[in-house]
């Protein structure tokens, strides 16, 4: 498999997943705000924090109100993480891999881009936003399902799964980080709402129903953290994503350093004490920072190993071959 093609498939999957995650998060956030008391300070800026785009936002806009934040996250082409940008980049990545990817996937991505172009005002209006996001999420699911059922499950497919799961793992940590930061502070006014906030954390990751089935007790901080970070069965949990990444890497050539990195990450998350991290001031934020750094390192290793062939490294291998 050509490195360029592998890289394009990897990024394609990341962008599609990113668009879906963004849509999901905006939906849940819109819902949550309707439930919370009017006077509290929990606003739209937390979405910027989760996506790590507050700096760029402040350069482009004056005020982090609903209108601006939503526009920035959905349709602003200046924001490389907006849904519009993600789907644009996904399409660009797919363009030159059309001989590998089933045609229908290309058509679906075109459809999604077209939908966005034609329906942007719906995304911006609070009343019609839910349907708009549902379409984005549904499109992403359709693509994932289509590829799973029509494409050869070979190296190319592994790179798609790698991209999707790394992106998902990253997003899960971001959501847990930002949302729990609010929750772990002492808020008199918010205490009665603690339960619905933890619920919203779960809902951002479509984890609520699965959590209920799995945990069978009221929604409480430590259990939510355990579920989202350590569950082996929930497909958006950090641990599950890493298992998938691990599986993909096992089948790819020259994977030693990569497998070491995944194993160390998996060990790290397995041994973490969530009861402790669910307490205020216990260093959850720092811990998650650490996970994210390790994820970033894994991405760098994948890029170096498979995508940007370093010629000196390559020469050695070549002599080994001949």
């Amino acid at each position: 498999m050509l490195s360029r093609v592998a890289q394009q498939l990897y990024w394609f999957a990341r962008y599609i997943e990113r668009a879906e995650d963004m849509a999901r998060m905006i939906n849940v956030h819109t819902n949550l705000l309707l439930d919370l008391p009017r006077q509290h300070e929990f606003g739209w800026d937390s979405l910027l924090e989760i996506t790590g785009s507050d700096e760029l936002f402040n350069e482009l806009y004056d005020e982090a109100d609903e209108r601006n934040v939503i526009r920035f996250l959905i349709s602003d082409k200046a924001n490389p993480g907006s849904i519009q940008s993600c789907l644009f980049f996904a399409r660009e990545n797919l363009r030159t891999t059309r001989d590998i990817i089933p045609r229908e996937a290309w058509e679906l991505v075109n459809d999604m881009n077209l939908f966005l172009k034609n329906n942007m005002p719906s995304g911006l209006s609070r009343r019609r936003r839910w349907g708009f996001m549902k379409n984005v999420i549904g499109g992403s699911h359709q693509i994932t399902g289509l590829l799973a059922s029509t494409m050869n499950h070979d190296a190319g497919y592994d790179f798609l799964r790698l991209g999707r799961n790394l992106e998902r793992a990253d997003m899960t940590t971001r959501i847990v980080d930002v949302r729990s930061a609010d929750l772990l502070l002492e808020h008199d006014v918010l205490t009665p709402y603690e339960n619905i906030q933890w619920m919203s954390v779960l809902k951002s990751l479509t984890a609520y129903q699965m959590y209920r089935q799995h945990v069978k007790m009221r929604v409480r901080g430590p259990q939510v953290l355990k579920f989202l970070l350590q569950s082996e069965s929930f497909p958006r949990s950090f641990t599950h994503c890493l298992q998938q990444v691990h599986q993909c890497l096992e089948t790819l050539p020259g994977n030693d350093s990569l497998l070491r990195q995944v194993l160390s990450l998996r060990r790290n998350i397995k041994e973490a004490d969530m009861d402790k991290y669910a307490q205020a001031g216990s260093g959850l934020h720092d811990y998650i920072d650490q996970l994210q750094a390790q994820l970033a390192e894994l991405h760098t290793l994948i890029t170096a190993r498979y995508f940007s062939l370093d010629v000196s490294h390559v020469k050695m291998e070549k002599t080994a071959e001949s």
Binding site: M1, L2, S3, R4, A6, R95, T96, R98, D99, R103, A155, F159, L252, P253, G254, Y306, L309, V311, V314, K315, E317, K318, E321
Partner: protein
């Protein structure tokens, strides 16, 4: 459908003979078309449009607004050639390409044909497509043009002529293959009545041809298709052929030339040796070290690798020297010179503006002739005398006087016609034929080729960039009928 009003005037029609009667090889088809109502025929047309959209057969057109993927315009009425006639044409094409390959090898080696003054030396050595970097090269089997696309036309008597040979990066073969797929979907009944020779072995023949010219014998030589990328008008074809051959579709940035002068592609398992490159990039963009230093499409060092015999480039750099329309004029002489044979296929009568007497004739008869730049493809820069304005003729005359070497002229041929579905009725439209000739260990000619048809009434320009479409081309076995 009826053919009452069908009138191909003085031109030769491929399907309808004198007196409006179907030619023998077209009888079944015409009978079948007569049995269809207008609505039924329209239904077939819609089915074909749908098939083409679904199959995603597109080509790219460049306009001022940018580029757009356009659906390939396809006419559902096939063009039919009897096998007996085709076999003769195919022999003629093989003969021609053999002579052309010997010519290219000679030009970059001892230049005997120039020394013997069969072809003027300056004409070749000053050609824009002569590559001094190729001098002294001996590609495997001494084959330079592995893939050639020749354009054939018929005159009003039905005789077949060669208009030009495309030896750089001829395109269109994927449309030939796809046209057949579409026709099979919309007229399956007809395939029972006719014995239509299949065409779909082209990708495997292409692969065999390319594999046979690998620099070193190998059981599984690595063959790749090198494309300039998605923004090239023929990208669809590049992807299609790669897919059909099971070869990697690579861009310049996917390849490197290592210190051992071999070409490698960058894969997820490291570098992997490439033996044969079917390149769909023009010479000048192949290698920024050897040619255009600004080219981002090419691979630095590729020419070095080729000249040291580490990789085969198909077609070989410098092939274009035989692609020139001025050189085409001399092909019959080449055939006599190298093969000591008489040419089987004649050339279209051609005037070289380079020769004074012929130039004077051309300048005096601009209103009757078709003038073409010697080195343009795609129908760009042509003057069609009878349809030109005085201003256009004046401008052309000035250009010819300035650079006579760059222009040739041909009589306005009344290209043959065939019934074509236009606004729900059948009308004659002009067409040509582009067969593809493969040269490797063996020589192969496509069964038929790509028929291109000028969809505009009376137009003689068949290029897709200028309002042309295409038809499926049937070579039918008439023995025993």
């Amino acid at each position: 459908m009826h053919f009452k009003d069908y009138d191909s005037k003085s031109t030769y029609d491929e399907l309808i003979g004198p007196g409006g009667r179907a030619r023998p090889h077209a009888r079944q088809l015409i009978k079948y078309l007569r049995s269809l109502s207008q609505a039924e025929l329209q239904e077939r047309k819609e089915a074909s449009d749908l098939a083409i959209t679904v199959m995603g057969i597109t080509y790219t057109v460049y306009t001022e607004e940018g580029q757009t993927d356009t659906i390939w315009p396809f006419d559902i009425i096939p063009r039919i050639i009897p096998r007996r006639e085709w076999d003769g044409i195919a022999e003629g094409l093989k003969q021609r390409v053999q002579a052309l390959n010997m010519f290219i090898a000679d030009v970059y080696d001892r230049q005997m044909i120039l020394k013997d003054k069969i072809i003027p030396k300056d004409l070749i050595l000053q050609s824009r497509n002569f590559r001094k970097q190729a001098v002294g090269m001996k590609p495997h089997l001494n084959i330079w043009a592995h893939i050639c696309g020749s354009d054939l036309v018929r005159d009003e008597r039905g005789e077949v002529f060669v208009l030009e040979d495309n030896m750089r990066v001829p395109s269109g073969v994927s449309y030939m293959l796809e046209n057949r797929q579409v026709t099979k979907r919309i007229f399956p009944e007809l395939f029972e009545d006719y014995s239509i020779l299949p065409i779909d072995d082209y990708p495997s023949q292409l692969f065999d041809t390319l594999a046979s010219v690998a620099p070193e014998p190998k059981e599984y030589p690595e063959v790749v298709v090198l494309t300039p990328g998605i923004y090239n008008s023929a990208y669809f074809e590049h992807a299609y052929l790669a897919q059909q051959m099971g070869a990697e579709l690579v861009e310049g940035r996917d390849l490197i030339v290592a210190e051992d002068d071999c070409v490698y592609m960058k894969t997820v398992s490291g570098l992997s040796r490439v033996d044969v490159i079917y390149r769909r990039i023009d010479d000048l963009f192949l290698d920024p070290e050897a040619f255009n230093p600004d080219s981002l499409l090419g691979v630095p060092g590729l020419l070095r690798s080729w000249s040291r015999g580490k990789v085969t480039l198909a077609n070989a750099p410098g092939c274009g020297v035989a692609d020139d329309k001025v050189v085409c004029y001399y092909v019959p002489d080449m055939i006599r010179y190298y093969l000591s044979e008489e040419p089987i296929l004649p050339n279209v009568e051609t005037y070289l503006c380079e020769n004074k007497s012929e130039r004077d004739y051309v300048l005096k008869n601009l209103d009757k002739l078709v003038v073409k730049p010697a080195n343009e493809a795609g129908g760009y820069g042509m003057l069609i005398g009878p349809k030109s304005t005085a201003k256009e003729r004046k401008e052309m005359a000035a250009r010819i006087r300035k650079t006579p070497r760059e222009y040739i002229a041909q009589p306005t041929l009344s290209l043959s016609t065939a019934p074509t579905l236009i606004n729900n009725s059948l009308e004659p439209r002009h067409l040509d034929l582009r067969p593809f000739i493969l040269s490797g260990e063996n020589t192969a000619v496509t069964t038929g080729g790509l028929t291109r048809v000028a969809l505009r009434k009376g137009s003689l320009v068949v290029n897709s960039s200028q309002g042309g479409g295409s038809k499926d081309t049937w070579i039918v076995d008439m023995e025993g009928q």
